[in-house]
């Protein structure tokens, strides 16, 4: 036996045995292959989509600038497309990207939600899940952890070697430490090469914006996956110490795995939807239309502004021809406020559901890790809300630029009043800066505390199981 502390000897013995086991090498090799395939696939997919979006945004800018001379309000109707930037780390965790619209069309009078969720075009079988590095790390890796830990104590007990081991004078703590290390060494042997491959792919697959700071986010992802694997290690050891036999330990751990990976997400969402319902598509559209239906029509609007004009409400420099422009700007402001309010309500309904969903991670470490993973990759609903808000702000900025030009000229429907490229250039290109890692994490504090809590619980459970462990 190796000289040195007892726990090290146990760890080295367990790790060596695991390594020599053909089944482990097969499983680890397969997992590694799947990880690399997922990373390569994710990176390729990500860079293709990122390129499409960057090209489209450039083409759209050209179309906007080269659309020729027209009345500024006609330009507002011509509208602008805003394409969702693709996050570099979506190669690791695409998160909600397949379930979110890819562009927003910004135009006068009405505001739209992002359209064309990729999931609409995909075959329904896509709903069965996609192999991504994140799913490999959060779903498949725990399975490897389970296979490494379920027999740690239960196996020794089944073979009757647990009592002799303790009779050697090895304390239970160094036994636990040894078993934990023994399980983690082969795990690390899989994780480190995978992390290196992932880092290489992400690095060489940098998107249109090579300065995007992703180092901290990528490091955060690695920490989350590691923490999640450690939670499972603790759980595996604790269950193994208390289970009747190694078969029982395996069944319990597999049931926990299935519940965490597959049952909890839909269940937590069903609960969230029951507690905090969001509107149906029809309800959402009808609420907006119902409010609009109560508004005065265009001619009445113009008449009312004319009355105010005749009452001397406006500056004396304003000409009667300006009345329609004032009516337009006022109705545009009312429309923007209306849509902003309804969109904010919808997004806060989403946020309410997310909050309940996140709280369910008290029941499931995998849920907490998944939320954090999406947040760090920049593909969760908080990031989507930020993008939608930026698109809304850009729309109102664009309309203000165009409308204020009309107000200055005082001519709305006089189509001999046309403007050209010089005005279109005053509308800056859409430039969206993704919030930093600190913001991303601050949106998911609940998940972070939950994962940290699970880490502590798993460690405590493993330690506690030592004192109550049955030797035979």
């Amino acid at each position: 036996m190796t000289r040195g502390p007892a726990f090290l000897a146990i760890a080295v013995k367990d790790a060596t045995e695991t390594w020599r086991d053909g089944r482990f090498r097969w499983a680890a090799g397969l997992l590694f292959l799947l990880l690399v395939a997922a990373i390569a696939g994710g990176a390729q997919h990500q860079s293709r989509i990122a390129q499409q979006h960057a090209d489209a945004q450039a083409a759209e800018r050209d179309a906007w600038l080269d659309k020729g001379d027209m009345n500024p309000h006609a330009a507002a109707h011509y509208g602008a497309f805003v394409f969702k930037p693709v996050q570099p780390l979506s190669a690791i965790d695409p998160g909600l990207d397949p379930f979110l619209g890819v562009f927003v069309f910004l135009e006068a009078h009405k505001q739209q939600l992002a359209r064309h969720r990729p999931i609409e075009d995909a075959a329904p079988t896509r709903r069965l899940g996609l192999l991504t590095p994140a799913t490999a790390a959060l779903v498949l890796l725990p399975l490897l952890v389970v296979s490494l830990t379920f027999s740690s104590f239960a196996g020794e007990r089944d073979q009757g070697t647990l009592r002799p081991l303790l009779a050697l004078g090895i304390s239970r703590w160094s036994l636990l430490l040894g078993k934990a290390l023994g399980a983690m060494l082969p795990l690390i042997a899989v994780m480190i090469p995978a992390a290196i491959v992932a880092a290489a792919f992400v690095f060489f697959n940098r998107p249109a914006d090579p300065d995007a700071p992703i180092g901290a986010r990528a490091f955060g992802l690695l920490l989350v996956y590691l923490a999640h694997a450690l939670v499972w290690t603790g759980a595996g050891l604790a269950v193994s110490a208390r289970a009747r036999s190694q078969a029982a330990a395996l069944v319990v751990l597999l049931a926990l795995w299935f519940a965490n990976a597959f049952v909890m997400p839909p269940l937590a969402m069903a609960i969230a939807k029951a507690i905090s319902p969001s509107p149906s598509a029809m309800q959402f559209a009808a609420a907006i239309e119902n409010e609009k239906a109560k508004w005065p029509d265009w001619d009445t609007r113009v008449d009312r502004v004319m009355e105010r004009f005749l009452d001397g409400e406006f500056e004396s420099t304003m000409a009667p021809a300006n009345v329609e422009v004032v009516a337009l700007i006022e109705s545009e402001a009312a429309e923007t406020a209306l849509y902003d309010r309804h969109f904010a309500d919808l997004f806060s309904a989403y946020a309410g559901q997310t909050e309940i969903y996140e709280r369910a991670s008290i029941m499931s470490p995998t849920l907490a890790a998944r939320m954090l993973s999406m947040a760090l990759a920049g593909t969760d609903d908080a990031h989507d809300r930020e993008f939608a808000a930026a698109a809304g702000r850009y729309r109102s900025q664009m309309l203000t630029t165009l409308n204020s030009e009309l107000a200055g000229a005082g001519r709305l429907n006089t189509f001999d009043y046309v403007r050209g490229r010089d005005l279109w250039e005053k509308v800056p290109p859409f430039d969206y800066e993704v919030p930093g890692v600190a913001w991303a994490v601050s949106q998911r504090l609940a998940s972070m505390f939950a994962l940290a809590g699970w880490l502590a619980i798993a460690a405590l459970a493993a330690v506690a199981s030592m004192s109550s462990m049955k030797v035979e």
Binding site: A37, G41, Q44, H45, D55, A56, A59, E60, A63, K67, M70, N71, Y78, F81, G95, F103, L113, H116, R117, P118, I119, E120, D121, A123, P124, T125, R126, R127, L128, G129, L130, L131, T132, V139, L140, L143, A247, L254, F258, P266, L267, M269, A270, K273, A274, P277, S280, M282, A285, A286, N290, A293, D297, W298, Q353, T354, D380, D381, N413, F415
Partner: protein, 437 residues
């Protein structure tokens, strides 16, 4: 003889604690998923879009248009499927562009990503796992304890014994998996329920067949359990996820983003030109309220001419996109044959009415309705007419009728699964020929 052995095995299973737990978990999951599904289907209500205040033909036909709501799918309570992805309603207008406007789908993206705990989920994932959980030890334990030899000293064949054991287990899980969904969706049309049940039976047959084959290898019970767990993981979890990755890379769907830019480029000239003509008209008739009927007719004509120009140019782009999309979807569909779970999921969704077929069927019906709507309203819009209440009342009405043609489409995959299942079961029994006691 097999009936006798089955009854005997049934009694044995009934006293087995593990089997009791498995059945309880399975039954509870099915009932819970059914209850969730019924609640979900009930929540799908509709809100009415307000009526137009103006009786101008344009306001009725185009601004308000006709809102077509897809009625809840016949068995949506069993499989939520794509009901949270495809647009729940369409707005029809009498125009040439934006003739069919798809409504937004506003389900929370996180909810869509999380999927549903529905009956289909329980059948696709839990059912095969539990099939394996109660049949990983068909004969290995008895053989190792030596009791199998004693049983075979009686005038019974090994394969009859195995058949009895397998049938008892198949019935044990088969009864709840067939009965509970039928109860949960009792209002659905019989052909659909029959197709659903056939799919479930065929899917079960495949997994029972796999269990038989593994059992016949002669390993001990622990090895059987490990191998079966691996097969389940591979076929039900890793397989579909990997196939989906391959589909994404090998047959990517055409980009909506690129298509939007192409549509923009194709229609730019017609849009700008059309708008200029409309603008010229408005300048000649400075106040919109008193252009007169003739003026409004001219305006409507100009608008229709612009729309036609745009629609013509848009068509080539849209047709190319749709063709590309359908080709990719066909190619992708072939790959999913590799996983029984993917095939079964496709069949269950289509049968439940929450897959692509019913959505396309609805879209086609909406397209035909649009032609009627346009034929009725377009002349009136071009005439700048103000409609009478009777005219509005007599406008075409949309009545969507579900047909059960989907049962024909799922027949082939169901037959495929059934054949695969029968072959696997047959292979399993055949390999028992060389079983060493």
């Amino acid at each position: 003889m097999i009936a006798f052995l089955t009854r005997h095995e049934w009694k044995l299973l009934a006293t087995n604690e593990v089997v009791r737990i498995v059945i309880a978990v399975f039954g509870a999951a099915l009932v819970f998923a059914s209850l969730l599904g019924v609640a979900r289907a009930r929540a799908e209500d509709t809100a009415a879009i307000p009526i137009a205040r103006s009786m101008r033909a344009d306001a009725i036909a185009n601004e308000r248009g006709a809102v077509l709501v897809m009625p809840p799918a016949p068995m949506a309570s069993l499989a939520a499927g794509q009901s949270d992805v495809y647009p729940g309603y369409l707005k029809v207008t009498a125009r040439n562009v934006d003739a069919l406007v798809t409504g937004d789908q506003v389900a929370h993206p996180l909810a869509v990503a999380s999927g549903h705990f529905d009956v289909a989920f329980v059948i696709l994932f839990l059912y095969p796992l539990l099939v394996f959980a109660i049949s990983f030890d068909l004969t290995a334990g008895e053989r190792d304890r030596g009791t199998l030899r004693m049983v075979l000293a009686q005038p019974v064949g090994l394969r009859d014994v195995v058949a009895g054991k397998m049938i008892a287990r198949a019935v044990l899980l088969g009864v709840p998996v067939i009965v509970i969904p039928i109860l949960a969706a009792s209002s659905a049309a019989p052909p659909l329920l029959a197709a659903w049940t056939a799919a479930v039976v065929a899917y079960g047959l495949i997994w029972h067949g796999i269990a038989l084959i593994v059992n016949a290898r002669g390993w001990n019970a622990a090895t059987n359990a490990l191998v079966l767990a691996g097969i389940w993981l591979l076929f039900a979890i890793v397989g579909p996820a990997t196939i989906n990755l391959i589909i994404d890379l090998r047959y990517p769907m055409p980009s909506r983003v690129t298509a939007a830019v192409q549509a923009r480029a194709a229609t730019q000239e017609a849009t700008v030109q059309g708008n200029r003509e409309l603008g010229q008209f408005l300048q000649d008739h400075p106040t919109s309220s008193n252009v007169g009927r003739e003026g409004m007719r001219q305006f409507a004509m100009l608008q229709a001419a612009r729309d036609r120009q745009i629609a013509e140019r848009l068509q080539a782009v849209e047709t190319a996109f749709e063709e590309q999309l359908q080709r990719q979807q066909r190619l992708a569909a072939w790959l999913s044959v590799l996983s029984p779970t993917m095939v079964a999921q496709g069949v269950l969704l289509e049968t439940a009415g929450t897959g692509r077929t019913r959505f396309e069927h609805f879209n086609a019906a909406a397209g035909r309705f649009q032609a009627e709507w346009k034929a009725y309203f377009e002349p009136r819009v071009l005439d700048a007419a103000t409609l009478t209440a009777d005219e509005v009342r007599d406008a075409p009405k949309f009545n969507y009728a579900d047909d059960h043609s989907v049962t024909r489409e799922v027949a082939l995959p169901i037959a495929g699964m059934a054949i695969a299942g029968v072959i696997l079961v047959w292979l399993g029994f055949r390999s028992y020929r060389g079983y060493e006691l």
